[in-house]
Symmetry: C2
Subunit: 137 residues, 2 copies
Amino acid sequence: MAPSAKHFKKRDAILHCLQCSTAHPSAESIYAQLKPQIPDLAMGTVYRNLNLFKEQGLVMSVATVRGVERYDGNTCPHVHFICTHCGAVTDLHEVQVGPELNAAATGACGGRVESCQLTFTGLCRECYQRKESGESA
Amino acid sequence: MAPSAKHFKKRDAILHCLQCSTAHPSAESIYAQLKPQIPDLAMGTVYRNLNLFKEQGLVMSVATVRGVERYDGNTCPHVHFICTHCGAVTDLHEVQVGPELNAAATGACGGRVESCQLTFTGLCRECYQRKESGESA
DNA sequence: GTCTGTGCAAATTGTTTGCACGCAA
DNA sequence: TTGCGTGCAAACAATTTGCACAGAC
């Protein structure tokens, strides 16, 4: 009855993993998280489904951090923060990109703007505090 | 006398190539551009210097487009546009990120914000026009 | 002599792909 | 029987790295 029978078990698990996480996981970490529950999961499957989801617009690529691609199951436009020290990617829902920027970009590029990503980089709270206390010690 | 004697010939050439280009080249394309003038240039050298420049803050990484990293010799903050069709990366100097966003991000992340990148994706003028005329034909 | 920049080629690593199998319709 | 999702392992491509040498000081 339900279309998500046995046939889509892994696909659903991967999507669910992405949509329920705010860590913006990499393919590798999705695999690591799912592997215990689904022992016969293969990396190829993770990558294949990830690319499928991207095509379908269910998932987007946030950034490539230290050579590995990070994904986001939340496709509503929002701002990201990347910690250069620990590699964490977090959402900054408090920061908003005004529509006027989009309009300006459309005018400036002369073509069609489809999406917009604002990303801040720096030190996250944990790494910042650790660094401060380490240096002052 | 000048420190940039023979010893820094390739390093200088790579940096110059980046700073004079607005195409946000990849390591590969820097190599391709320089190779005719400097036949004994090696990819390893390009990558090594690129990483050095990044550390020194002379150059920044703009984005990873289709799996290849793109660099920018212009480190003044500015907005980018990436064409999903041809992979071109261009500057949008007309669009500006206000300082209030930076402040908001600093507050929201709780750590330290070091840089900010606003990137639009879509179709550049050429690809957009080509697509339009192709479809309406 | 020492230090730094580099060529070269091998190694590493993230990602993709071909093939064969198994379940669902 | 046909089609799709998948495991597995090989293939790929971008990037990094170890080693040895050459020129600068």
